[in-house]
């Protein structure tokens, strides 16, 4: 067997899990993973046996995902709004907490860059340093995205995620 293919194979479950969380669509997620593997195979010469293969693969997947998102961004209304204050106020109402679903819906409300950091930490258990390496940003940036993202998520959950609030 081939060492390179083996080391790719090892991370496929992780790539699929993360892709699923990013896209929330099984088919789309596996397409993303496949594109990622294709590109990794075409860049075999850049692979470093002693390097961090996981970070390398996740970086490739992020770049593809970012391109896909950009390509699809000609739809109106998909521009993320960073500022909490700019969010429309949500009318009060009683919430039915459906474990997880609410979190999933709230996650979708976050800008991509915050969601990515939260997912890499929660799902992958990456250290902040690895997240920074994967995303190609400074660790301070990772921390501020994590902090803003988690706080935003918490408020969304308190107010009730859109579409899941049930008014009795």
């Amino acid at each position: 067997m081939d060492l390179f293919c083996d080391s790719l194979e090892r991370w496929i479950p992780n790539l699929r899990r993360y892709a699923r969380a990013l896209t929330r669509d099984r088919e789309q997620a596996d397409d993303l993973v496949q594109d990622c593997l294709e590109r990794a195979l075409s860049r075999r010469h850049l692979w470093n046996e002693d390097g961090n293969t996981r970070a390398w693969l996740f970086t490739i997947m992020h770049n593809i995902h970012a391109n896909d998102t950009r390509r699809n961004s000609n739809r109106p209304g998909t521009v993320p709004i960073e500022d909490d204050a700019a969010q429309p106020a949500r009318p009060p109402g009683q919430m039915l907490r459906v474990a997880g679903l609410e979190t999933a819906a709230a996650l979708q409300e976050l800008p991509d860059e915050q969601r990515q950091v939260i997912l890499l930490v929660a799902l992958e258990g990456m250290t902040y340093g690895e997240v920074a390496e994967t995303l190609g940003v400074a660790q301070g940036t990772v921390m501020s995205r994590l902090s803003r993202g988690r706080e935003r998520l918490r408020r969304l959950m308190e107010d009730g995620a859109p579409g899941l609030r049930i008014v009795k």
């Binding site: 081939d2 699929r16 993360y18 596996d30 474990a99 939260i118 988690r150 998520l153």
Partner: protein, 262 residues
């Protein structure tokens, strides 16, 4: 703590949530959490976010990886695609000027076993072509006018859906197909095509456990040439008494059609 409310920064709160703090700093953060309900609620909410995210998506990592995502398979597909590029192909033909020779060109490093497995499939596909392509009255068991039945029958016998490649763009129309035995006692399907000049090509699909996945290979015996490729459980060949370039064009369509079904 010298009167300061907390002697740690926001980053350390997250590091605590994520279990990324040193022992020493953890004690400091936990002291602050114990003294501040609001802070403790925030930390608890963040931990819950992590738990819910893992509960939501964690199971995906436990699912079996679909075959089409296995790196070896993707690599093999890439190799074939590269082979199908006409420019690359013509370069390789120059390099492989040895008549009827194997182009032992396998980047997957399967080595001798792969060559043997492909040769095994090739010899059977070439034999079947030689025997049936010359038949005038009984070239096939089921003619193209019963294509639906033919497909259903052969799909059933081979245990997977087979789609009949459309080779009209290369000037070949379907004559029909037949069931064949392989040397290993497994079923194989042969589809025969004919152009207006009466030249015939056959597409051969057999159940054959090689465990190998190969790029395209070419073998010719006398006037009949064949492109062969292997999947772990199947062997494929496209054989014909036509020059290599048009046979390659035909093989490309066959490959795309059969691959699409998987």
């Amino acid at each position: 703590m010298n009167g300061k409310p907390y002697d740690f920064d926001e980053s350390e709160l997250h590091a605590w949530v994520d279990g990324q703090l040193t022992e020493e700093r953890r004690a400091a953060v936990e002291a602050a959490l114990a003294a501040d309900d609001g802070l403790a609620a925030r930390a608890a909410a963040y931990r819950e976010q992590n738990d819910e995210i893992r509960a939501l998506f964690g199971a995906t990592a436990l699912e079996p990886v679909p075959r089409h995502l296995q790196p070896q398979r993707i690599a093999a597909r890439r190799n074939r695609r590269r082979w199908l590029m006409p420019v690359a192909a013509s370069v390789i033909w120059l390099a492989a000027g040895l008549a009827g020779g194997w182009i032992a060109h396998d980047r997957l490093g399967g080595g001798g076993a792969t060559v043997e497995a492909a040769r095994h499939v090739a010899s059977q596909a070439l034999s079947a072509h030689r025997v049936y392509a010359v038949e005038v009255r009984h070239p096939v068991e089921v003619f193209a006018d019963e294509e639906a039945h033919l497909v259903k029958w052969l799909s059933k016998r081979l245990g997977h859906d087979i789609r009949v490649p459309d080779l009209a763009s290369q000037g070949f129309r379907l004559v029909g197909g037949r069931l064949l035995p392989t040397a290993d006692g497994e079923p194989a399907a042969q589809f025969m095509y004919e152009n207006t000049g009466g030249q015939r090509v056959t597409v051969y699909v057999s159940l054959y456990h090689s465990g190998q996945e190969t790029a395209f290979r070419y073998q010719a015996v006398q006037d009949v040439g064949a492109f062969i490729w292997l999947e772990p459980e199947r062997g494929y060949a496209v054989a014909g008494d036509i020059p290599r370039e048009p046979l390659l064009a035909v093989s490309r369509i066959v490959y795309d059609t059969l691959e699409a079904v998987e």
